[in-house]
Amino acid sequence: MRAATRRLLDRAFTAVSLLAVAALAAALLLLLGPIVTRGAGAFVFRGTVEHRRLLREQFGRGDPQAVARDVAAAAAARRPVYELLARFQAELDAADAATRRKYRAPLRELQEALHTLFGAPPAEGQALLLRNRYGATRWDQAQAALRGVLYTEEWDYSDPTRLGAKRLAPRAEQFRGTTLEPLFSLLEREARAMLRPRWTCYARFLTDRSLDAHFFGGIGPEALGTLYLAVGAMLFAVPFGLIAAIYLAEFAGEGRLVGLLRMCISTLAGVPSIVFGLFGLAFFIHTLRVSSSKSVLAGALTLAVMILPTVIRAAEEALRAVPPTYKEAALSLGASRWHTVLSVVLPAALPGVLTGIVISLGRAAGETAPIIFTAAVSMGPALKPWETLSQPTPALSWNIYNLTTEHEAVERIRHVQFGMIFTLVALVLLLNAAALWLRARVSRKLRG
């Protein structure tokens, strides 16, 4: 082979490697980009008057007079819409049967679309379900709902070789020549006045309870449930893991039993997470009966078994990283082996051990599969600490799944899903950042 070709191959090899590294970073951006940008939108967004009315009526927050003025202004802007509707209805009642039949279905559709946008019309009185009482609380949702009012969706199947294509047709066409025709241009023109969007920071999203199955409100019970599960898991896993790590790093030799133990730890680390869920169900709930059915306790125990190897490994690594000179100095001063471990090695390794614990905490918070059968429910109140012994809880990870796949209005609560995933990822990343910071401190300290 010529030297030039060899050089070319070498360059190509370098380029491929660097591109692969760049691909790693790109993958991270691709993943985190939508989660961060749209997730932040659950906290900071343009809230409409409906949002402020909801907060006032359901949570008692906001200045009552200001909200009342706000609502009155919006209602005044909306009045022409309802007047037009009422006039059209009256005309329809007076018209012949054929006209009535022609406009019945389009009118009902229009009213439903308006309902999503503005909430219950003033004539109708209080709706039973909250989702019917309030209109679009967010401006992005309001714009989507407005599109739903202004346009109808049609599917075009004319080309049999392609999938059906969506087409938007102006709804005004259906009402051309009637009293309702000006309604659409009015809506398009005056939507802002009718909804009064304003930049809002809804920080209480994190702690508020959800209203009407997450149509409104926050993710408080889920966040608390995740906290309970993760901290509970650490309560069980840290003592056992730390002791096991001390044993492995300081006392165990290289015997066959220790080899078996190490093999078990790596096996445990490789068990698929869903199998932990099955195990938790069969062992903690059906055999030990720690609770009559799903509970936070059972979930925390299951998670603890799952993260045990991570804790052991991290703690052992931290203990082994303590320079042997520390130990030798202590031993030469006449300290016993126990004394040395407890008062010299362990304190020196503590930041490293903490790093491992913090990372495991993040892992326990993020896991879903082990808690499906042991702890998680889709709906539930925030638990008091003592209720965790017997009650199941909603949790961020489980509810993300639940809300994206099983909720009745998946598209309408996208912002809640993104808010939840943002919260969970931010929690895990913050914990990891804390771990990185701790590790940097450790290496500085051990270097001297």
Partner: protein
Amino acid sequence: MGWLRNNAEPLFEASARPRPALVLSGRAAWGRRLAALAGRALLGGVASVSLLAVLFIFVFVGRDAWPFFRSRGVVEFLTSVRWYPVADPPEFGCLPMFMGTALVTLGAMAVAVPVGLAAAVGLSDILPFGARQALKPVVEILAAIPSVAYGFFALVVLAPALQRNGGRCLAAAWWAVAAPLLLLGAVVLSDVLSGWLPSARARAAARWTLGLGLAAAALWGVARVGAALAAVQLPSGTNALNVSFVLGLMALPTVVSVSEDALQAVGRELREGSYALGATRAETLCRAVIPAASSGLGAAVILGMMRAIGETMVVWMASGNAAQIPRPWYNILQPVRTLTATIAGDMGEADHVTGSDRYHVLFAMGLSLLAIAFLCNAASEAVVRRQRRRLRGA
């Protein structure tokens, strides 16, 4: 990055650290010695909780799987393609799930192994130390992101994009990967093929004509395949392709960190020896370093595979969950269903019928997963042990 690894002890130790031995003086009280011994036994006892946990997992998952195998046998479970757990009489053929798991794992490995190995080489041998330190957190964050976030991404972001532009995405990926590689291949091939010609002028002429011809042929082939791919329409974005890609992303950090450790463990002497013989960096890595680290790289692949096999949320959310074998079996554009997703999805319905075959079959699947994970783990340990022995011998 040690916490990413699947092995309790450091994978590759340069040299064993001498263990300081403490000799108790003869006058040391027997009581103290006894207490120390008892304490050690206690520590050992607590440490063996993980041993107990592994034992219990096998026992309790096996105990609930046993009634299924006793009443229905193994043959239907492993060979039938008919999964109708609620029909009367029910049928529990799990072959589609085994195939689904295998398919998405293969797909994930097709993404994670090339990219992961290349990135590991880049991190260990090409990038300067500072850049490596800056990029390590990227790998750690990829590993730390919860699996449900990957699943959410697959379902909410990737699936609609694939449904809208599936063919164009496939074609773009194909162009990006195939065109440079094939062009490079054409250059190298023309050089090698023209090497036997006697005169320098003839060699150059042959090289240019061959090279241009091969390159044109390669580009033509790439364009043909690309056009075919661009015409592909996906009826749904939740399919094996989507899941394979995302599982590949999830397996990447494991593959990268373990293989980087393996490459680092090879040591400088081998690299310097190779450079001294006049090899380029690519040749050094491909002919000397990577073969020496092959067992560690194998372990990396196995560990990455385990992550893909055992993953639940991504496949449950984005694989389409159709209990069927794609036709033909490698067609990753069709929805599939995996073992993990079936366990997660069916337990809700099966839970209130605890004791039925429908409940126990899920434990049978869990036991199969456990067995697969155990075998993979044993394989990776054996591979690592071999590597360590070989490095010590070298």
